[in-house]
Symmetry: C4
Subunit: 193 residues, 4 copies
């Protein structure tokens, strides 16, 4: 461990101290995980309980809630889970963290935190705003991940020895996700259910 | 630490780099813990406060809520706590994590996140849907844990030197839990309280 | 690191493998921290917003909510913070974790999770149930911490070299807290406000 | 690692054992991160869903909620994110943690936990209490961070080799934030919207 660098840590654009470097990266990852885990779990908090006077009515209510409320919950959980895996894949390749990456990541977390809200708006059903807001939020998460990966590559934050194509899978996945959700917007306007 | 492997981490089916291996495992465990902790704590969020005009009425209301609302909360807390212990036991034996295990684990967490919702549905009382949904969710958590353990054994993810019977206790426990809750389903249909 | 022990980890009553030992302890601490942090933050979730038509009315509403709702919140936050510090002090002295300690800790967390609920019941005001339930929950948390410390001492879970009186401060503090809250119970019955 | 110190850890004002030192610091950081992450995510929990009978009405409702509810949410998220970054910067320079720092940090977390509540009060709109409470809470967070930094410098808790001016940026930022929000208080009284 290069202890000699300790005295000028704050002058350095990157964190040259090994313990400090890990500390910064791990805290960023940890904090992100906590936010993602909470957003994921809060999705389930507002799921409506089926109601009714008889078994048949309760069952009917459950089946009615299934396509909109419950399905939207499952989709949002899956979307956040997929983004968690992408975040995970990305940060496995990150060696050092700079302030810009911290800020990108906080912006990214902001959008993740908005997902439960966008899911609720989308579950209201029958209006254009719901699917449009949802598509905008999800696309923005994907696009921000692309920007984050581009910044990390250009600023030399990747682990030494990481080949140039290492983030390609991530970029293709995020780009595809953004495109699909952005393309869903005109569809929402064309056919408000 | 085998630094030599760093350049071909992403080509390797397993993660051969020791630091990376631990990072992946620890992040998976951490993320799971956060989700489980939140699901556990959210259980208590919607507990109804006893109401009434006099001490006697408030006490009566408390006693009335006890068997359904409060008991269901205690049971669900115990169930999630038991699954946390099983998850803990299991991952102590895990040496490396592959993408399939990450996915299994996310599916498992999805079901854990559903437990507070299933508890609320179950607390409505008097209808078949509640206990059936509850039994299905708990059994599915137990069964997914069995599948996860089977995958880990077959894919060689266990710590070197772990004897073949190391996960037996876990499998027997999870299998028993799944059986008990699945067997409770026909009982619910036979005797809706 | 004693790698030789790896093959018989599961037969051992304690965890003799250093990496495994730390992993178990750290995961227990981490999980506890997450649960405590969530319980602490959820306290603020149901704080009532002051209402009114004019500035004077809103201010009046705020002042009225102050002694019961807001003060109860501050007290509960302080109580959980104090227990977190005690938990922290205690686990700094823990070297190995056994299954009994895991179970004690889960029971302890159960009671911490109940604190926001007990606070809400207590904030209803004017009835005996609120302060009694609150006193029972807080005393039980303190008593369980005493039991946990006694178990750790007897089962030899403390760090080597920890002197016998190391946990004395913790025990005195927890015992005092339990006594104070238990003594408040007859007071509640004598003078329901 | 200075194992020799183990027997008198509890007598020492600082924690001289390296493993123990890191454990204490990391647990404090971890716990803080969990609380901050939860407070941040809970901000979004009570965002009102726009309502209406037609697309135009839903859109209108959304636009109406934008300046107060949604903007307040974005500002509060930004404020907590900025404080997280400041906390992060500060604790990167912390070498040892003493009990006073633990207490300061718990007080600081208390105020962070109050932010979602203050945001809700502020979103009610049209009354002086909202902006005043909000300004008081945010200023108090900034001031407490200044006190924490001053204590850490005086008690010698910083990493060896940290130059005296290392925390200057933090202090200037926190001082500015406190001043801005405190100055907003007389403005609130002068011009209740």
């Amino acid at each position: 461990m290069p202890d000699l660098n300790r005295t000028h840590v704050q002058e350095s654009p990157h964190f040259t101290d090994e313990e400090d470097r890990r500390h910064v990266r791990d805290r960023l990852i940890f904090f992100s995980d906590a936010v993602i885990a909470i957003a994921m779990t809060l999705l389930a908090l507002e799921l409506p309980v089926p109601t009714g006077e008889t078994d048949a009515e309760v069952w009917h209510s459950f089946v009615e809630l299934l396509p909109e409320e419950y399905l939207n919950f499952v989709i949002s959980f899956g979307v956040i889970a997929a983004f968690w895996m992408a975040h995970h894949q990305f940060f496995r390749k990150i060696h050092v963290v700079d302030t810009a990456l911290l800020r990108y990541n906080l912006g990214w977390l902001f959008l993740v935190v908005v997902v439960p809200f966008a899911t609720r708006v989308n579950s209201e059903g029958g209006f254009v705003l719901g699917p449009v807001l949802y598509a905008v939020v999800i696309s923005a998460i994907a696009l921000l991940m692309v920007l984050m990966a581009r910044h990390a590559t250009r600023a030399g934050l990747l682990r030494p020895g990481t080949p140039p194509h290492a983030l390609r899978g991530l970029l293709v996945g995020a780009g595809t996700a953004a495109s699909v959700f952005l393309l869903s917007i005109p569809v929402s306007f064309a056919s408000p259910s």
